[in-house]
Structure formats: C-alpha cells, structure tokens
Amino acid sequence: MQDVTIRLGVQELIGHYADCIDDDRLEDWPGMFTDQCRYLITSRLNHEAGLRQGIIYAASKGMLQDRVMAARRANLFEPHRYRHIIGPIRIDQIDDGVAVVRSNFIAVRIMHDGASTLFATGRYLDKIDIAGTPYRFIERLVVLDSDKIDTLLVIPL
C-alpha cells in the first residue's frame, strides 16, 4: 500500500501541470521540472520502435524556458488553448525518492474563434522527484497515440 501522502502529492503535481498549460500560465511550466530534466513529446510508433526523435525535446529547464519564450515572442500562430482531461493516475513504482507514474490524457484544442477539436490523446510516462516539496518532474514522456498533428504544435502537452 503506497503512502497516501505520496499519491496525493503526485496527483497534485499532475493536476497542477494541466491547469498551468490550460490556463495559459506557461511561465510556471518549466518550474515544475527539476533543473536536470527530460521532456519529450513523441508518438507511440516512434516510442515502441525505439526511435528517439519526437516532436518536442527538452533536456534542461533552460530548453523548457526557451519553448515558452518562443511561444510567447518568436513563433507566429493563431491563438488557441487546450483543455486536458487526465485519467486515473497509477504509480508503478516508488524507489529512492523517485515515483514512476503513468496516466492517460485527452487534450481538446479550442481555437480563438471557438472551434473545438480533439487535438491529442496519449499517455504520460513520468519519473517524479518526491524527495523534496513540491514534487517535480525528472522526466515526462508524452507518448501520443497518433503520429499525426493537425497544423502545428506550439503549446506543450
């Protein structure tokens, strides 16, 4: 039986992550990762074939900050938001201050004109630092069920 405190902390981190993106508080997003971190959005096909190149890859908190800078100031695109719906969160393993966690998500994309479409579904495969507070992501793999992206991806998933 896992410690209920750990379970609640993990739930809080994953829920906070989705809110932060969906509420357009992208500046808070890099702070949810440890300084040495790994963030990768890829497809199930790439993931299962062991192919390492996905869609977005960050190997440091700085690279996450650069993603936010680019979305805010560099890249041009039509305004839109996501709504994440996260499924049940399962902790596979807790070892040496690190929780290995998985959850499923769907992300609806809401364009500025109100058009809503199912943009992405997939699975989060996380390694979470639970030694300190608040909990932080050491690694977050976003494995998309489909290998197709409609138009572009600029806001992280």
Partner: protein, 409 residues
C-alpha cells in the same frame, strides 16, 4: 480522371503570375494526380534501410495512389500498386512488415514479390464445378508496376515509362546537392506527420521560397540560422521543378535587416543554446541546404538536422506532410544528442518550421470564394534560373515551369 473541366486560366506564358484558382479547383487537383504524380516524375517511396531483407515491405502512396514497395528474393526493390487485380481491394493493409507473398484477404488471390499473380483461390472450381474459364491467364493480371531507382539511401518510383533515369531527370546540380547531404549510410531517428489545412502546392512553393524564410520565421533570423545576407545561392534544374538553395554560416552584422526593421530581427536570447549549436559536419560551412524533388519531396540540412519531408496531397485543401528525421550510422552518442536537440527547430513543433504549418492554411482560407485573379512571384526577375543570391522567388517560378509543362497548361 475527372470529366470536369478545370477552371484554371493562366493569364500569360509568364512564370511570374499564378492564378489563385490553381489552389482551389477540384478538376485541376484530379488532373495533377494523373499528370504529375502518375506522370513523368520521380516520387519518393521509402528509405533503403526500411527494407533491408527480402520480403520487407512498406505501403505508401504516390500522390493519393496506394503503392507497395518491397524487396524481392533477388535483392532488387519492386514497387507496384496496392490494388488486387481481381476486385480492386487493398492488398496490403499494414504500414510495413515482412512477407513471403501478398495475399488478398477478399478472395485469396496471391502475388509474388514482383507483383505477378501466382495463385487464385478455387481457380479450378470446387468439386469440378465453377472455377475460372480457360481464357483466364494469371500472367495477364500482373499488378501495375512502377520503375524504381535509388539515390544514396532514398528509393524513388515513377509510373511513367517515359521519365528519364533518376539522375538525368534531377540534373547534375540537384544530384550533387543530394549526395552532399546523404554522404553516409542513413540511420532513422524518428518520423511524424503534420496535417496541413491547405493545397499541397502551397507547401511545396513555401519550401522553394527563399524570400519568406527569414521574414516569417523570427527564429531563423534572430539566431542567424538563415539570413538572406549570408553567402549562398539557388540551383534550379533545366525542367525547373528540382532545386536546392543553400546558405553558409556567417555571423557578421548586416545592415540590411536593421534597415528593414523586421520583427524577425529581434533581441531574443536562448537560455540553452544547444538547440542551435552546430558542428560543421560536411566541412564546407554550409549551415542550411534545402533541396526539393518535384512534385513532392524535400531533403533538408538545417545545421545538423537532416530530414526528408514528403508532401502527400489529400484533397484540394488538405495535405499530409511526413517528416522523416535522419542521422548516420557513423554518429556517436554526442552527435545523436546534438541532432535530437536541434530537432526542436523542425517538424510540426519546429521553431523555424511551425509557421509553415499554418501559413498555407491562411492562404487557403483567404482564397475561399475569392480565388479570381493571380498571385505574383517576381522577386529576382521573371525567369527560373540558378542565382547566386536568395532574395528571390526563382525556385517558385521553376516549380511553375515544370508544372505547366507536365500539365500542358
């Protein structure tokens, strides 16, 4: 082919005027399938490394036409339509795999790895009743084959018997450009597809458009990945549709961007520069080379990112763009990690590429019931010839030169 008449009217023989209706007309789109994708062109099929062994296959499309590419028992690569000769069913439903033969699930007709019909279920009937008549001959029902050619790890196919051999058709400059990038055995790093809400030609023109790159894409300009002031040029083949443009690394200050006051020339800074840290792996200080093969393939080197992009039309206002990310067998872990980090520049979330995912859709929306008249591509003149500068739309004019020749327009 459609019976409908195309409503596309070209204002003149000039390459620098393009009727907007060419992006919206359904009959034109159907003619393109026949005359371009199934015509005298070489279309990208797959990577050689995807089908190393006999029986390895990939199913893909040339334009919208379903095609199977398979390595035969003799080691040669065969390509034929993915359509059973019997009732037209898709023979192959999976993206890739390994087979001894292709067996149609509908009525069990069997084809060997060269596309020859070798088996027909109940050919001689059941209990001496039924079966095929005596004038049926399996050898009359071979699958329609494409001619196949390889170029440094890429496999191409053509439906036409009249297409010149691949290297002749590409022309010496484009062959040289392709061989420069693909100079070692390839290693597949990943792939993904971006669905573009626009006509396929808007994307292909965009890739050939050296004028827009450092204006639309702030990242290219601010981080000095590609500015029109860098030394470079454009090579266009004699047909016009195949080309490459290149730019050399040059970090000197240039006044022309400052004078234009472009938003793309910003003071932004990166927190982690590994996304742009390049090594000069070809030893020629070329930092960007964009090469196109008519009508639907791009080979890019942007810093240390190597990718094939395949443009697949999916209707008059929809296009699938597949990104095939590559490294080389000789890459060590540091080089692979470098390519993966720079990979953020390209693809559907690419810092220098994502705008191209939406810009064609903006054009397509603007053209809705507003497609009379002509666009103009006159930067750098009216011709479609190689140039030593890149403030030019010459490669786009080359596209229309080749397009109009094959479309008989």
């Amino acid at each position: 082919m459609s019976d409908a008449e195309s409503s596309v009217a070209w204002p003149s023989n000039a390459l620098s005027e393009v009727p907007f209706r060419v992006y919206t007309d359904q009959a034109q789109y159907e003619l393109e399938q026949e005359r371009l994708f199934k015509g005298e062109t070489w279309n990208y099929l797959c990577l050689t490394v995807e089908i190393p062994k006999a029986g390895d296959y990939v199913s893909t499309t040339v334009g919208e036409t379903a095609v199977i590419v398979v390595r035969g028992e003799d080691g040669a690569i065969n390509a034929f339509v993915n359509r059973c000769a019997h009732r037209g069913n898709l023979l192959c439903l999976k993206r890739n795999g390994n087979v001894k033969e292709f067996s149609c699930i509908y009525h069990g007709w069997i084809y060997n790895l060269t596309g020859q019909l070798t088996g027909v279920a109940f050919e001689h009937g059941v209990k001496r009743q039924g079966g095929m008549p005596s004038d049926f001959h399996k050898e009359d029902h071979t699958l329609r084959r494409l001619r196949v050619a390889e170029l440094n790890g890429l496999v191409f196919g053509t439906f036409s018997s009249r297409t010149p051999d691949l290297e002749t058709w590409l022309g010496p400059d484009v062959v040289r450009g392709a061989k420069r990038v693909l100079n070692r055995p390839l290693h597949l790093l990943g792939r993904g597809t971006q669905v573009l809400p626009n006509n396929w030609k808007l994307y292909f023109e965009n890739v050939k458009d050296t004028y827009h790159a450092s204006i639309l894409h702030l990242f290219l300009t601010t981080f000095k990945i590609n500015r029109l002031s860098q030394p470079g040029g454009i090579f266009i083949d004699a047909n016009g549709g195949n080309h490459f443009s290149y730019a050399k690394m040059d970090y000197s200050e240039d006044a022309s961007y400052k004078d234009e006051g472009l938003r793309s020339d910003s003071d932004l800074r990166l927190a982690d520069t590994s996304v742009i840290d390049q090594v000069d792996e070809y030893g020629d200080s070329i930092s960007v080379q964009i090469l196109t093969i008519f009508p639907g393939m791009v080979l890019q080197q942007v810093r240390n990112t190597i990718a094939v992009r395949v443009i697949r039309p999916r209707g008059v206002d929809k296009t699938e763009l597949e990104w095939i990310h590559l490294g080389f067998d000789t890459d060590d872990e540091a080089m692979t990690e470098r390519r993966l980090r720079q990979g953020n520049l390209i693809g559907s979330a690419g810092y220098i590429a994502l705008e191209d995912g939406c810009i064609g859709g903006f054009v397509q929306r603007a053209l809705k019931y507003n497609d009379e008249g002509n666009g103009i591509v006159m930067m750098g003149g009216h011709e479609a010839e190689s140039q030593t500068f890149r403030a030019s739309e010459a490669a786009i004019r080359g596209f229309w030169k080749h397009y109009r020749a094959l479309m008989d327009a």
